[in-house]
């Protein structure tokens, strides 16, 4: 997998061409949708009521679109103005569609009636049914420099496929640790944040979870599908309850959260229980297994490859690479 993060700053990578490509790729739309759905599930919002949510690294609004479908109101920030322009285009399209619907409102009055009788309604707003909320507001901002909001603004925060950008410094001034801890005080007490990211290596995953622990938030990393190179996803799940100490507090997410903070060697651990089962849902996909202590051959090869890309001295790959060593006494 190529790493756009190594090419420089996100605002340069996500230029107009790249932003349009990203937003119009149906594969991308599908992946981002699935991840966002999972992030919302992990947020465990109170009784599914419409919440005020911050989307950090919102891009062209693919993740925001899913929030809207769940009836949430969101504010997004992103460092790439071209991605935000795509998000603006999406808002414009949505408005045009809404206006089109307004003209033919009589046609679907039957459906409205049915909706009202539907016991599956997520919330009873004035119109009844699960209304899609209006598009989110956008801000041009670099999350590495702290968020421009007063304390306790949001009910929750999501960040989908963006956090890994903070693990790299493009200039002397950009210190990953500082950038990772810069954005932390903007959530309502008891709020959750779910940040899905692509760590390049387990070091990055450790760096990210340590930064979270440093600013005093409880939580840990949930790894979905750890044995699949393609489907594997890391979610940093945080609770912004500063007083939070013991594991009992996390009743909703038993087993799906790490509270120990740093663990011996790994730092990243896989949820003991299938969080979907914990949430009372049928589990989809392969069962998640605990990640073994050893590093796999694939992992080592990948790691060496990226080290080489960074211009670091790395030993040649041989048939011995990643091979199990005989036990010694």
């Amino acid at each position: 997998m190529s790493r756009p993060e190594l090419t420089g700053h996100a605002s340069l990578f996500y230029n107009e061409k790249e932003a349009r490509k990203y937003d119009s790729s149906s594969r991308m739309v599908g992946i981002q949708r699935e991840i966002t759905e999972r992030a919302i599930e992990l947020l465990k919002l109170p009784s599914n009521r419409p919440s005020f949510i911050l989307d950090v690294g919102c891009g062209s609004g693919l993740s925001g679109q899913v929030l809207e479908e769940h009836g949430h109101v969101w504010v997004g920030c992103d460092v790439s103005r071209d991605m935000l322009n795509m998000a603006n285009e999406r808002i414009e399209r949505k408005r045009e569609e809404a206006m089109g619907e307004g003209d033919s409102s009589e046609d679907d009055s039957d459906n409205d009636m049915n909706d009202n009788n539907d016991s599956n309604n997520d919330f009873n707003n004035s119109k009844g049914g699960t209304e899609e909320s209006s598009p989110g507001d956008l801000l041009h901002h670099d999350m590495g420099t702290g968020l421009p909001f007063r304390p306790a603004s949001f009910d929750a925060c999501i960040s989908i496929s963006a956090l890994q950008w903070l693990c790299y410094s493009n200039t002397k001034e950009q210190i990953p640790k500082k950038r990772l801890t810069a954005s932390s005080h903007h959530y309502t007490k008891g709020a959750r944040a779910v940040l899905q990211f692509y760590p390049e290596s387990s070091e990055h995953a450790i760096l990210i979870s340590e930064c979270a622990a440093k600013v005093g938030f409880a939580g840990g990393i949930v790894v979905d599908y750890p044995n699949s190179t393609k489907a594997k996803k890391h979610y940093l799940v945080l609770s912004f309850e500063r007083s939070y100490k013991a594991p009992q507090g996390l009743t909703g997410l038993e087993g799906a959260l790490l509270n120990e903070g740093r663990s011996g060697s790994g730092g990243v651990r896989v949820a003991d229980k299938d969080p979907r089962r914990a949430a009372g849902k049928k589990s989809r996909g392969p069962p998640r297994k605990k990640k073994g202590g050893g590093k796999t051959k694939e992992w080592i090869l990948h790691k060496k490859e990226t080290q080489r890309k960074k211009g670091k001295d790395t030993r040649k790959d041989t048939k011995f690479t990643g091979r199990k060593r005989p036990m010694r006494f």
Binding site: S51, F52, V73, N88, L139, H141, P148, D155, E173
Partner: protein, 133 residues
């Protein structure tokens, strides 16, 4: 940008004490009606800084074609239970000012440092220069 977002936005330029609320300098605004979500509004209201909202409405209102709804000069919105008793007209007015009026082009100005953040096509640019971080 809606006044909803403005109500939570704060300048974090180096040297700011509070950086809140940001003053609004309007070049263009737009008004677009949207359905009221009462449940969301009641959930949000205790977090709204009411004085900042009233001040923002005053800065936007002169630039609107139809005047924005008049809000009471002071109101205590911090108590969620008490807010349940708000009448529908007040709810609808609060919704209008929070959701339906947008700053399209203009500036947001940090009250402490005077730093001006440009707003273009509804998107405020809050990116800090290196010496402001």
């Amino acid at each position: 940008m809606r006044l909803l977002t403005h109500n939570f936005l704060q300048s974090n330029v180096r040297g700011t004490e509070k950086g809140y609320p940001l003053n609004i300098e309007v070049t263009t605004i737009k008004y677009e009606e949207s359905p009221v979500d009462k449940e969301f509004l009641l959930n949000l209201l205790p977090k709204v800084n009411y004085n900042a909202l009233v001040a923002a409405v005053k800065q936007m209102s002169p630039h609107c074609e139809q005047p924005l709804p008049e809000l009471p000069e002071t109101m205590d919105v911090s108590n969620a239970e008490q807010n349940q008793n708000l009448d529908d007209a007040t709810i609808s007015n609060l919704h209008k000012v929070l959701f339906d009026v947008y700053l399209v082009e203009g500036w947001l100005i940090c009250p402490d440092t005077g730093r001006k953040f440009p707003v273009k096509e509804c998107i405020p640019n809050m990116i800090l220069h290196e010496d402001e971080i």
